[in-house]
Subunit: 332 residues, 2 copies
């Protein structure tokens, strides 16, 4: 039996399970040139919240009453495409939230389950790891001895960012939402310091104490007041990598905050957003470098694995409560 | 008789003449190795407002009861330094607001009054022109056919920015505070469009109408709501050059505005401040290029010349009402 998950309504503010609909559907048959895929691991990512709005962004919005698309690791269970054999695993960044689906094979990358656990290809060895690599390379420009602060520091992207910072010889301070996460950042990922924003009244002061030499590079996954606090401690020629703004994704109006333009001018600060898909030319290099660091024991990763196709919507919703440590994936 | 202008008090909000004090003092005598200078043109610039605050910035704050320092074109009227002859003109970026002063000659550049009017060396052929050149080169990265919007478009820096944009084959739209300035931007400087922010209720809409293909590069001299309106129209991979934030320089608290981090993420936008003094290695190249463009008739400039040493403070204050067209200088 096959199932699919549709976007039933565009979430107002925080998504709820009612915004999704699970249907039972027929299992499709592959045409000539196609493969039949069975989903093994489904990626849920904060950026998908943006695609649930009906507005122009870097990827088109999800359509109402259509299956949601995202990153999925699947097994080839039938093949009428000579490039793929039954039993092979593939990674598709735009597969549909379905248990079974067909594909022409376009945009599928084969993955090797003997090299790394399958789910790693959705995280550290997938777009998550590449995001960290590409953002630091093109905007971060880390120099030895600099101070790197990363919000969402125990999350999928943040944990890789911080570990690359350590490899580059930086002092790394992570920000996260629980004492457990702070401990993970320091003990597992080797960060020099950690701040629990949930128990900290004055983030500006907390960052100042954790970074007595100021902040040279701030990797921002959250936006909002955490960004304000980082900018209040930014050094001359500081760089802010605007990777995400999860604190704002569920807002229905654009929130207000202190204006930062004077700081940018006075401190010659660069703030820059980026979309990992614009840097496809660096994907192979990024994966190769991260694999090497993993093999050398320099990069570790966490993942939160939820089980069951029906639980995909809840796993997605839980991202906004920070219930994940590291990459959130759903095992089918 | 000699005079000096001291900073009497740190302005609260908008500067007033009471924040300055004019003293009569003795005319100094040069020691061995020094020259005696007579000021001819004094530059007043918005960035000086920042130095009147007692806070760390890219240049140290002015000291209370000490002469203000800035850009001055002076004549050598006595010389005990073999590098300088009587009658030569020099440009110093950190000379004091005095009619007569001595100097060791360090940080003085000779200027040639036969090549361009003396005052031009404080503007288009000085830091003003270099600011436009360096900011566009390092952050703007203009491409032919792109749309460039510049606030303060009839001002010292903005008018050069827009003309370089035209040389690079861009569509250029300027923003300024009067119909006369809008006319100057279009008729004298050759901008494609102009917006009078003072008579426009909805800047976002006005920019959209003037830039039907969106904004690729926004040169920001003002910050605040004009920046918001430009960002609301920014294209993917847009670049914002944060050169100044004159709308905020007299604020006593950091104003609030809509948060921009989501836009930076969604549109892969780069916002970057810069300080022209960090790019000394590009000064010679910039001056050479701008001189060439001037000789080719591709760059014109405006200046507002106020007469009289005692009027320096008022000329400075008038910058914040936009009373200048082009570079504001005081002729002594």
């Amino acid at each position: 039996m096959n199932k699919e998950i549709l976007l039933k309504s565009r979430p107002k503010g925080r998504p709820t399970k009612d915004d999704f609909k699970i249907n039972e559907i027929d299992k499709p048959k592959p045409n000539d040139g196609e493969v039949l895929l069975k989903s093994k691991y489904v990626s849920v990512d904060p950026y998908m919240r943006g695609r649930m709005r009906d507005e122009k962004s870097y990827v088109p919005p999800f359509q109402l009453n259509e299956p949601i698309e995202g990153g999925i690791i699947a097994e080839v269970i039938e093949s009428k495409n000579e490039k793929f054999k039954i039993g092979e695993y593939v990674n598709g960044s735009n597969l549909q939230w379905k248990i079974f689906q067909t594909s022409t094979g376009e945009n599928l990358q084969k993955v090797d389950s003997s090299q790394a656990p399958l789910s790693a290809y959705l995280g550290v060895l997938g777009l998550t790891g590449i995001t960290a690599y590409v953002g630091l390379k093109n905007i971060g420009n880390l120099k030895e001895g600099e101070t790197l602060v990363v919000s969402g520091g125990s999350g999928a992207v943040g944990s890789i960012v911080g570990q690359i910072g350590k490899i580059k010889g930086c002092k790394v301070v992570g920000i996260a939402g629980s004492d457990d996460k702070v401990e993970t950042m320091q003990k597992k990922f080797g960060f020099d310091g950690g701040i629990n924003y949930d128990t900290t009244d004055d983030m500006k002061k907390a960052i100042k104490e954790a970074c007595p030499n100021g902040v040279d590079v701030y990797w921002d996954n959250v936006g909002g007041e955490t960004l304000d606090a980082a900018l209040a401690n930014i050094n001359k020629h500081g760089r802010i990598i605007n990777c995400g703004a999860i604190s704002m994704y569920n807002e229905t109006e654009i929130p207000k905050g202190p204006r930062h333009e004077s700081t940018l001018v006075k401190k010659s600060v660069r703030m820059q957003g980026f979309i990992v898909r614009d840097h496809q030319d660096q994907f192979a290099e990024g994966i190769q470098q991260i694999s090497k660091w993993m093999n050398d024991g320099k990069i570790k990763y966490s993942e939160t694995v939820v089980e069951g196709f029906e639980n995909i919507p809840q796993a997605f919703i839980d991202l906004f409560d920070g219930k994940n440590e590291g990459k959130m994936v759903v095992k089918i």
